[in-house]
């Protein structure tokens, strides 16, 4: 399940970072967090968040469990695993070098 497109890896990085900073959180929480933090600049198809979460769960980066949420209903909460933590580091490095590369090209072209 190697990543091929940068959009997917960007989404992974966003989700993983949110999980790292905000601890156990459900899918809806992640979706609103991305929207709020990016000040609505990043508009993702909300539903596509879930296959991404499930893929990362199968990769072993995150785990999930059903818990009672603040509204008193059952919700699936996601949490980072230690493998996920490593993944955040390496992906953010990659992202940083990718964006640095892109901005260098934009500046000097």
């Amino acid at each position: 399940m190697g990543k091929t497109n940068s959009a997917q890896s960007a989404l992974d990085l966003l989700v993983l970072t949110i999980l790292e900073r905000r601890g156990p959180i459900h899918g809806y929480g992640i979706a609103t967090a991305i929207q709020d933090l990016s000040q609505e600049a990043l508009r993702i198809e909300e539903g596509s968040l879930y296959p991404a979460l499930h893929r990362m769960e199968e990769m072993g980066w995150i785990t999930a469990e059903w818990k009672m949420s603040e509204t008193g209903r059952r919700a699936r909460f996601y949490r980072l695993t230690s493998a996920g933590r490593k993944q955040v580091l390496s992906e953010s490095e990659q992202w940083a070098s990718f964006t640095a590369g892109v901005s260098r090209v934009l500046r000097h072209a």
């Binding site: 459900h26 899918g27 809806y28 979706a31 609103t32 198809e45 909300e46 539903g47 596509s48 879930y50 296959p51 499930h54 893929r55 769960e57 199968e58 990769m59 072993g60 509204t71 209903r73 059952r74 919700a75 699936r76």
Partner: protein, 904 residues
């Protein structure tokens, strides 16, 4: 972790689907609530929420693909579907599973014995490097060659070890023998164990380490052995001494001699002979002194390990000159040896054969019968497979419209085949599991059935390892065998023809006929084989052995005057003891014979029919030494009367005959008299025997009697008066129970003293029966399998006829409406039945005749083309076929024409 959850989700996809649905719903509800809060109407909030979520079905499928194992999900679906199918037709499922399980169980049980006795390598270090020495059997002219000689003398062993130095290591391995052992302490019980002699290096050669203490070393090869020591097997140590490591250094008394226990072999080592577990090993040098010196005394097997790069041909070339030298000397020792036998001796060669799976007398006797039984079991399996296949076929025809529907809905052919095969695999796996349990129960019973009571066959039936794999393999193979053809047929359903009536069924019916023919052919072969084995056993049981085996107890008696492995040799060196022992023996006989309820008692050197024998060439005055060596047997007065062997002329022995010096009185049987004197009027004739020309005079002529077994026609026998022995056999004819006779003997032996006591107890019928274990095995298993095969074939025939008769309902209805009589309709169905059977019978007959030539040597009184056997099998078969056909025929005949026609 993740594959586990994917596996779980594939097996139970419903939970996953609920999970995914709930998570999606949760998200949407939250979004709707949030949008409503921001002031949107309920409808608009829901519209926008759904819009921003995206395509729910596609996203859900995407998640599903991540979270379950799609390939497995299809398989699980297939299994569910198959399981439901079986639940819908439980009678079919149970019949199929049980019949297959019986067949798999029988095959697996026999295979487990074949594996343990014949195939499995010894559990020792690099068993493929091991070899055993042997040489061809030397046999009388005219009689067939027997099994190879694997026994050698101690001088031969020493010489072979010396000349093969560097090319191989040789070890001495004695044959396991039943002996009496007594643990440390005076109160310890005396019990029978298996003892084997080995050379000092034998354990090291096999790579066997001690569990406790030490094993033998070159130290033990010195003559005489410095200190008598014994090594126990792990299993014996566990069973007898509760795995107490303190036994090392303790004493073990074997046949009256004391040995210090040196150690215990590692777990799982039972000797080099599959079929017998050795309990105690003794150094070969602890055996008889003469056995270590005399080259004629063949008592040991030689097993060795090749040095790297040495071939068996190379080793044979190294050993042959020494072997030939021994053969030349052997011939010189026996001047009376017949010329034909002398030539065989001088031409004889030594063979080096692989001993990776050990050396085994059990294997020699039973390998052919076991393979035959294995073939019989495989035949049953084939029948069972054909049976299940034809039922599956019938069912797939019933499901033809379902298949047509699925094909028209776009199901791929491979998908349908896969699904049908899943069904047959499910059947076969369940049958395999059940069959394995059957095998696990059956195999020990089979081994038990071929074991003499006092010397059981012991095999490591590793039912959980290779045998399990075999079981799985057989079941899977059978699933493919019986599943593939119906699956292929059914999946080829043409949607249109299924919708229109049932065309295209002719081909399927032809396949059904093929299955029935296979069953008929196999079952007929089994019935012929079963009949042949049963008749063969019957023939043997009807043989008149020349004595009356009923109500004769055979008792082994010992005294502790002197212990010896060879009583005859011992007597020759202890003349004074001989008279004392003889006196004791005769006193015991007289005391027993005078008890109430005892009809006769007689002494002999060993029991007949147990393989013990003494044979010599005889020298008739005016002629050279005889071509044959004849059976010599020492008995006491009253022997012929006790055995109820008629005395035809002259007299039985009396007590004084044993004291005769010079000219010994002898009784010969008719066969002997005919062979050497051409007459039965031979009382008073004299001749001599043996190396030193002992002279005898005939005082009586007895009727012919068998000596070794019931198979050979009566051998010439020469009876001589008994000598005093420290271990002998007492025959007691009495209608009393064996236990009563033994109690009586215990009382009398205590009175007589000298440590005289009863050592072995059996009956003459048991001894004679033990020579028939092979025949009993074949008759029992062959007969049972023939019955099972016949039953399965009858079920198959019945099933197909019922089906075809059902399909012809309309035709039969028309016939009945047009005035056909019931007998005509019955004969219509019966004609079809005989048509079905003829082809199978023809193939079966050919197969049976071919099989009979293979079995021939194991049969007694049965010809290769035996009309009686074939006729009986045919009669049984036709009767069964008729029975199977009768019910469908009867049902067809009772058909009401109106309802039959309306049904269509």
């Amino acid at each position: 972790m993740s594959w586990l959850s994917r596996f779980r989700n594939a097996v139970n996809p419903q939970r996953l689907d609920e999970d995914l649905g709930e998570e999606m719903r949760d998200h949407l509800e939250r979004r709707i609530a949030a949008l409503k809060e921001s002031g949107l109407s309920a409808d608009e909030a829901e519209r926008q929420a759904r819009l921003s979520y995206g395509n729910t079905t596609r996203l859900r499928e995407e998640s599903r693909d991540f979270r379950l194992w799609t390939g497995l999900e299809g398989t699980v679906q297939d299994i569910r579907y198959a399981w439901r199918g079986m639940r819908r037709a439980p009678a079919f499922a149970v019949t199929a599973i049980v019949s297959l399980a019986l067949a798999v169980g029988a095959t697996t049980a026999v295979y487990s014995i074949v594996d343990a006795a014949i195939l499995r390598p010894l559990p020792v270090f690099k068993p493929d490097q091991l070899f055993a020495l042997s040489s061809p059997d030397i046999h009388d002219q005219g009689s067939p060659a027997g099994e190879d000689r694997t026994s050698f003398s101690y001088p031969e062993y020493l010489r072979f070890a010396a000349v093969s130095k560097g090319a191989a290591r040789l070890g001495l391995f004695g044959f396991p023998n039943r002996v009496e052992a007594q643990g440390p302490g005076p109160q310890a019980p005396i019990e029978k164990i298996n003892r084997a002699y080995v050379s000092g290096e034998a354990f090291d050669l096999l790579g066997i380490s001690p569990a406790v203490g030490r094993l033998f070393s070159a130290h033990e090869d010195r003559i005489p052995p410095p200190h008598p020591v014994a090594v126990l097997s792990y299993e014996y140590w566990q069973r007898r001494f509760n795995s107490d490591p303190g036994v090392v250094g303790g004493n073990l008394t074997i046949e009256g001699k004391r040995y210090e226990i040196a150690g215990v072999t590692r777990k799982g080592f039972f000797g080099v002979e599959p079929g017998k577990f050795v309990d105690v090993w003794l150094p070969g040098t602890a055996y008889e002194e003469r056995a270590l010196a005399e080259p004629e005394w063949h008592w040991l097997q030689i097993i060795g390990r090749f040095a790297p790069g040495i071939s068996s041909a190379r080793l044979e070339a190294m050993l042959q000159p020494s072997f030939h030298e021994f053969q030349v000397n052997a011939v010189k020792q026996f001047p009376t040896i017949p010329a034909a036998i002398r030539d065989q001796f001088l031409r004889s060669t030594i063979h080096v054969r692989s001993a990776a799976a050990g050396v085994s007398g059990f294997r020699e006797t039973f390998s052919r019968p076991l393979w035959i039984v294995f073939g019989v079991a495989a035949g049953i399996l084939l029948i069972a497979c054909a049976n299940v296949a034809s039922i599956l076929l019938a069912r797939s025809m019933a499901r033809a419209s379902e298949m047509g529907m699925r094909v028209s809905l776009g199901a791929g052919r491979m998908r349908l085949v896969r699904q049908m095969l899943t069904e047959s695999l499910l059947l076969s796996i369940m049958a395999g599991g059940l069959g394995w349990v059957f095998a696990w129960l059956l195999a020990p019973l089979l081994v038990h059935s071929i074991s003499p009571a006092d010397d059981p066959v012991q095999l490591v039936l590793a039912i959980h390892t290779r045998v399990l794999l075999f079981s799985i393999g057989v079941s899977t193979l059978s699933a493919v065998l019986f599943g593939l053809a119906p699956a292929w047929q059914a999946s080829g359903a043409k949607p249109m023809s299924m919708v229109r009536a049932s065309f295209g069924q002719v081909g399927k019916l032809r396949l059904g006929k093929v299955f029935v023919s296979i069953q008929v052919a196999c079952a007929f072969c089994l019935v012929v084989a079963g009949a042949a084995f049963v008749f063969s056993l019957g023939n043997l049981l009807r043989v008149n052995p020349g004595f009356d085996a009923r109500n004769v107890d055979v008792l082994g008696i010992t005294t502790d005057v002197a212990k010896s492995d060879d009583p005859v040799a011992w007597i020759a060196t202890h003349p004074n003891e001989e008279a004392r022992l003889r006196n004791l023996m005769f006193q015991l006989r007289d005391r027993i014979a005078s008890q109430p309820g005892i009809q006769g008692a007689a002494l002999a050197m060993w029991p007949i029919f147990e393989g013990g024998g003494w044979s010599e060439p005889v020298v008739i005055p005016g002629k050279g030494p005889s071509e044959h060596e004849e059976i010599f047997y020492r008995v006491s007065p009253g022997y012929l009367a006790t055995m109820r062997t008629p005395l035809l002329a002259g007299r039985e022995f009396d007590v004084k005959d044993s004291e005769a010096r010079g000219l010994a009185p002898a009784i010969v049987n008719e066969a002997f008299a005919r062979r050497y004197f051409d007459s039965s009027n031979v009382v008073g004739r004299e001749f001599s025997y043996g190396k030193s020309f002992h002279r005898v005079v005939i005082v009586g002529v007895a009727a012919d009697a068998d000596y070794y077994d019931l198979r050979t026609s009566a051998d010439p026998i020469l009876y001589l008066p008994t000598e005093g022995l420290n271990s002998f056999t007492l025959y007691v004819r009495s209608p009393l129970a064996v236990g009563q006779v033994v109690r009586m003997l215990d009382r009398e032996t205590r009175v007589l003293g000298s440590g005289m006591r009863v050592r072995d107890v059996t009956t003459l019928e048991t001894i004679v029966g033990n020579t028939l274990t092979r025949e009993k095995l074949l008759a029992g298993v062959g007969g049972a399998c023939a019955f099972l095969g016949l039953l399965l074939a009858a079920i198959g025939l019945f099933g197909l006829l019922s089906y075809t008769a059902g399909r012809r309902t309309k035709e039969i209805g028309i016939r009945a409406a047009l005035g056909a009589r019931r007998s005509e309709i019955i004969s219509l169905i019966l004609k079809e039945a005989s048509g079905l059977m003829t082809g199978g019978l023809a193939i079966g007959l050919a197969g049976a005749l071919a099989a009979m030539t293979v079995f021939r040597s194991l049969l007694f009184g049965i010809r290769a083309v035996d009309p009686f056997v074939i006729g009986t099998a045919m009669a049984i078969f036709l009767a069964t076929g008729l029975t199977a056909a009768w019910l469908p025929a009867y049902r067809a005949a009772r058909l009401d024409p109106m309802s039959a026609l309306r049904n269509e």
